[in-house]
C-alpha cells in the first residue's frame, strides 16, 4: 500500500481538517465532527440539504457543499456509513426552520444511520425528509440497487429546488423525480486499498476488467478480458438503455472517473458515448466528464444517464458554486 497518509485510522479526520483549512471563507468543519458545512448555512426558511456516506468517494460529498447544492456533508470512515450522531449534528446545523432534506445512497449502513439520525432530529421537532438513491443497474433486484454517481445529479436537483425557495415537500418531489429517472453503471480495471485495511479489497488479473462493479468494489455483472474503450462505452450504454427507455428524451450524462483513470481516458469514453446516444436519438442536454464519485485509487469509470423534463432542466441550469460542481 503506497499512500500519502499519516495514521491510517485518522485519514478522515485529517482530510476534513485539511479541507476546512483550504477553503475557510466558504466552508467550515463542525467542531468534534467530520461534518463540512457551508458557512452561510443555516439560511432562514431555506430547506437545508444534507448528504454524506463513507469517505473515499471524494469529491463526494464535501465537494458538493455550496450554493445551489448541499448545506452540509457528513463523512463516515472510509467506505463506512457515518454514524447517527454526526448526521444529527449536520441536520441541526443546517436547519433554518424549513426542515432538512437528506440525500442517502441505498446501502444498508447509510439507510440505517440516516434513519436513526432522522429519528433523533424529529425528537427535537426538526422536520426531515429523504431520498434514497439507487441508480446502479448492475444489481437486478431494484430494491437492492446501490447509489453511485447518479447521486450527484440528485444533489443538484434537491439543492437547486431548495435555493429557489422550494418547501421540504417540493424539494423531495424534485429529488425523487431525479432519483427515479437516473441510471448508472460502472466498470473497473484495478482495485483500491482502504488505508486501515492495507490490502486491496479485490483482485483482477492483468488482462481483466469487471463490468458493473460497485464504488466500494462490490461485485458486478461480469469479469472478462479488457476491451477497447469503444466497446466498454457500448456495453455500459447498452446496460443503461436496456434498463430504462431514454429514447427521444433529453438527458444529462456523467462520464465519471473512479479515481486513477486519467481524464484523457474519460474523454475517449465520452467520445463514443455521445456517438451512441446520437445514434439512439437521445438528446444530450448537459454532459459532465470528470471525477464526481470516486473509489479511492480504483481504476475504472461509470456512466450515468438522467432523463430530464422541463423542471429538471431548469434545476440543472440553476447556478451552483461548489468545489466539484460549478455552473
Amino acid at each position: 500500500m503506497k499512500k500519502i497518509i499519516n495514521d491510517p485510522n485518522a485519514v478522515v479526520q485529517e482530510m476534513a481538517e485539511g479541507l476546512a483549512a483550504a477553503y475557510p471563507d466558504d466552508l467550515e468543519q463542525l467542531p468534534g465532527t467530520t461534518v463540512i458545512k457551508r458557512r452561510t448555512a443555516p439560511e432562514s426558511n431555506k430547506v437545508g440539504i444534507v448528504s454524506g456516506g463513507g469517505s473515499g468517494h471524494e469529491p463526494a460529498h464535501a465537494g458538493y457543499v455550496g450554493k445551489g447544492m448541499l448545506d452540509a456533508a457528513v463523512a463516515g470512515e472510509v467506505f463506512t456509513s457515518p454514524t447517527p450522531d454526526q448526521i444529527f449534528e449536520a441536520i441541526k446545523a443546517v436547519d433554518g426552520g424549513a426542515g432538512v432534506f437528506m440525500v442517502v445512497k441505498n446501502y444498508t449502513g447509510d439507510v440505517l444511520n440516516f434513519d436513526m439520525a432522522a429519528e433523533l432530529a424529529e425528537a427535537e421537532n426538526i422536520k426531515v425528509a429523504k431520498v434514497v438513491v439507487n441508480d446502479d443497474v448492475a444489481v437486478d433486484d431494484v430494491a437492492s440497487r446501490r447509489g453511485i454517481a447518479g447521486t450527484i445529479l440528485v444533489h443538484k436537483m434537491a439543492g437547486a429546488k431548495a435555493e429557489q425557495g422550494g418547501s421540504l415537500e417540493e424539494v423531495k418531489a424534485a429529488a425523487d423525480k431525479a432519483a427515479e429517472n437516473v441510471r448508472s453503471v460502472g466498470m473497473a480495471l484495478t482495485p483500491c486499498t482502504v488505508p486501515a485495511a492495507g490490502t486491496p479489497s479485490f483482485t483482477l488479473a492483468e488482462n481483466e476488467m469487471e463490468i458493473g462493479i460497485g464504488i466500494h468494489g462490490e461485485p458486478g455483472i461480469e469479469r472478462k478480458e479488457i476491451a477497447p474503450a469503444d466497446d466498454i462505452a457500448q456495453e455500459l450504454t447498452d446496460k443503461l438503455l436496456a434498463d430504462y427507455d431514454f429514447s427521444g428524451s433529453d438527458t444529462a450524462v456523467i462520464v465519471n472517473g473512479l479515481g486513477s483513470t486519467p481524464e484523457m481516458e474519460l474523454y475517449i469514453m465520452n467520445n463514443k458515448v455521445q456517438a451512441i446516444l446520437a445514434n439512439n436519438e437521445i438528446n444530450v442536454y448537459k454532459t459532465l466528464v470528470g471525477e464526481y464519485m470516486t473509489s479511492l485509487e480504483m481504476t475504472g469509470c461509470s456512466l450515468t444517464l438522467l432523463q430530464l423534463d422541463d423542471e429538471l432542466k431548469q434545476l440543472l441550469d440553476e447556478p451552483a458554486n461548489t468545489l466539484a460542481f460549478n455552473g
Partner: protein, 206 residues
Amino acid sequence: MALTVQNIVDWIVKANEKIQANKDYLTALDQAIGDGDHGINMSRGFQETAEKIRGETYTSGADVLQDTAKTLMSKVGGASGPLFGTAFLKLSAAIKGIDPVDYDTFTGAIEDAVNGIKQRGKAAEGDKTLVDVWSKMADLFNCESDFRADRIAEEAKSAMEQTKSMMATKGRAAYFKDGSIGHIDPGSASSLYIFEALSEVIEGGT
C-alpha cells in the same frame, strides 16, 4: 448465578479483547463478501467502548450497556453500528433497575435485542446476518433455565458456522448472491466473540 455490574463490565472488556484479536480475520471475512471494513469498524467501536467503560464507575448493569450502545452507535458506522447499537440498547432497557441480573431477566433482554435487530435491519433468520447468531442465543436462553457457559459458546459457534451455507439476502453480501454461499457472515463472527466473552465471564463468574 446472576450477572453483577462487574460481570457486565468484564463482558464488554473481554468482547473488545476478542474483537481486537480477530480484527484482521473479521476484515478478511468482509473482503470476501462485503467491502472489507467490518473488522476495522468493530475494532474501532469496541476499542472506544472499552475505554469509555473502563474510565467510568458504574452502579448498574443497564448503564454499562447503555454506554456500550451509544458508543457503538457513534463509533462503528456502517450497517453493523446501528445494529449492535440497537442490540445493546435493548439489553440495557430490559435490565434497567435490576442488579444483579437474574437469568429470566437476561433471557427477556436477549429476546428484546433480537427483535430490535430484526426490526432495524428488516432481516429475518436465514438471511445470513448477525440475526442468525443472536436469534439462536435467544432460543438457547429460552430452553435452558440457568446461565450455561459451555452451551452459550457452543451454540454461538455453531450458529455462526451455519451462516456459511446460507445465501445472503441483506446488506452488502446480498450483491454476491450465490457467491455468498460458503463464506461465514462477518457480523455473525463478531457476534460469536460477544457471546464467547459472555460465556467466559459466566464461567469465571460469582
